[in-house]
Symmetry: C4
Subunit: 201 residues, 4 copies
């Protein structure tokens, strides 16, 4: 089975997730700058963070499937698992924002990020297993440092929101989620290099 | 007429249906785990079930159109009929969830699943008739055991929600809908095999 | 400029329009069949009508662009004009349904259908002008009977809702809109024939 | 990395943005023409303006990527930056409309347009830098008069809404935003010419 339609469907779902989140932004009732800041200010930053996360997954997905020619039924379902986790982001983002960063919603947001990371790892492993010992993808990701680091980031964030009371725990958690996003924005040069090599005769 | 644009349009509609359902998930007003469980807990499972059903249809649709080269006007409309039935899933899912699994909404959800199964069967039959006696698709689906079993599942679910009073009838119905989904998640190896054969010289 | 990206963008917009309308369907507050019929019954039929109309436009758009190789800036904007008219359908459908088929909303729905028909005609004319005297599309549409008849249908519907008081005027209007849709569902065999010819050497 | 998937993803996001805005249009509670004009009249014009702006960006994006073969990670993120700015348009459009063109919401709408223009400029510059001294795109855009003029338009609009009190300031601002849109609707003949040349041997 070719990957083109799987990519097209995933692009569609990711495009909708990334855009639908803006519907969660409440339009202020008043019409001054202060109304905007109070009603939407925090929401805008939360939206930006989740937008960046979906963008990261799209980028990584895009890179990964450049090294995949054919997909099996298992890959289709692993991919749907990843899309399911990401499709919950508008909901967890909305709750975190609406609660004004209360502890539980921040924890749940972290759990959502962690679930997406695990689903991505499962998808990657399913593809590598399907490609066999000569797997281009396994070669490309190498030690997969970022893939292994980011769940640790999310767990640290979840634990600090769960265990450290008051504003500090939540602030550390959100800071860690932002840091993990920044780590990912640096493009995945290893796979890019591999693609360049694969293109060469 | 080539199938590429029909596939792209169907992918778009299915991607939107699968993602739009998350908008039905109500963000809890409180901010504790118990608020989340009470407000969204059931909804999340319902959402997961409908997500899996749309995923199943996308997978089967994907497999089916691998064996189709050209489509007639009849196939276009049969395909739109299937998309129409599936586009009602966010609505019937929302009602079933909001009513907390009352009898009628569960019946209507089952009717929606049954209608989608019939629409899929009509689409399949239209394609086979168009392909003529040498139809690759007819050859691939063989006895089409799963396609014939699933309407029976849905009817059993509908009848148990309609006839068995109290919680039991509804529980059996939902259990049957879950079972039908699990049956489908097992990939359609017959068509995969056929595609592999068709690829070989 | 190639048509592929214009087709992909139009497919995306039409897929969203056709799916977003279901969000207008109000989930009943009660949980009996009678609640469903009272709250959603009419809405479901209205949704089905608009779904069919968007499906018709998608089919015709699909057929038309099979005969187009390259598009100019004028065609891009004529196409956006058509998408704009169709993007208003969820709104006019919602108002017609919510008002329970009051005269003005039915008139506005008819005006929306008329505007879309005019925008389609403008798009068709722009393409024919660009293709020049040897235009494949002009040859294919021939006398374009359905394209010329449907605005008359919409005008008759608008006038009967505007001029005939009481339920009768509205009923005639909706009947005429349904009749125009049925006329279009019959596939456009002329263009299909032309495509088949163009494919042959 | 090929541009096809970046184009497909951007098309998806732009298609959703352009269509989601119609959800901001409030369906009138009454059912007379005067209800429609009072509830939706202004909103419809605002929607049309933002629809045209998204259409302009889609057209320009389409033209630009005709001259791009391969994209780097930097281009992916510059593109996501542009999509982020445009994804806020439904929100700023909604606020401007709901406030009935109060000063601050009009300013924020202008800031949104300005941010999108800057993001587009950044994307264009990133591509040109990647393409190197032989950049087809740099050659095509030439002096890029419209690209340089439109931020000035937006700044004039923002300033007049900010500094001129009463209805006049807002009216000038909106007039300037409309004028900038009209300037862009004239198709970008320079790039079209370049594409035609690039197609020739």
């Amino acid at each position: 089975m070719r990957t083109s339609r799987l990519e097209a469907f995933s692009d569609g779902v990711l495009a909708i997730i990334i855009t639908i989140m803006v519907l969660e932004l409440k339009v202020p009732h008043g019409h001054t700058l202060s109304d905007l800041v109070h009603t939407t200010g925090v929401g805008l930053l939360t939206y930006a963070l989740s937008f960046i996360y979906v963008g990261i997954y799209w980028n990584n997905h895009h890179h990964m499937f450049q090294l995949v020619d054919r997909v099996s039924g298992g890959v289709l379902w692993a991919n749907l698992g990843l899309l399911f986790c990401l499709s919950l982001l508008p909901f967890t983002t909305g709750w975190m924002d609406e609660s004004r960063f209360e502890h539980t919603p921040v924890i749940i947001y972290g759990v959502n990020l962690l679930a997406a990371a695990i689903a991505y790892y499962v998808l990657q492993t399913t593809i590598i297993r399907q490609q066999g010992p000569e797997s281009l993808l396994r070669h490309a990701i190498g030690r997969d440092l970022k893939g292994k680091l980011s769940p640790i980031f999310y767990i640290v964030g979840i634990l600090s929101a769960a265990l450290i009371p008051g504003y500090a725990g939540v602030a550390i958690a959100v800071g860690v989620f932002v840091a993990a996003a920044i780590m990912w924005i640096v493009p995945d040069r290893r796979i890019e290099g591999e693609v360049r090599q694969a293109d060469q005769p």
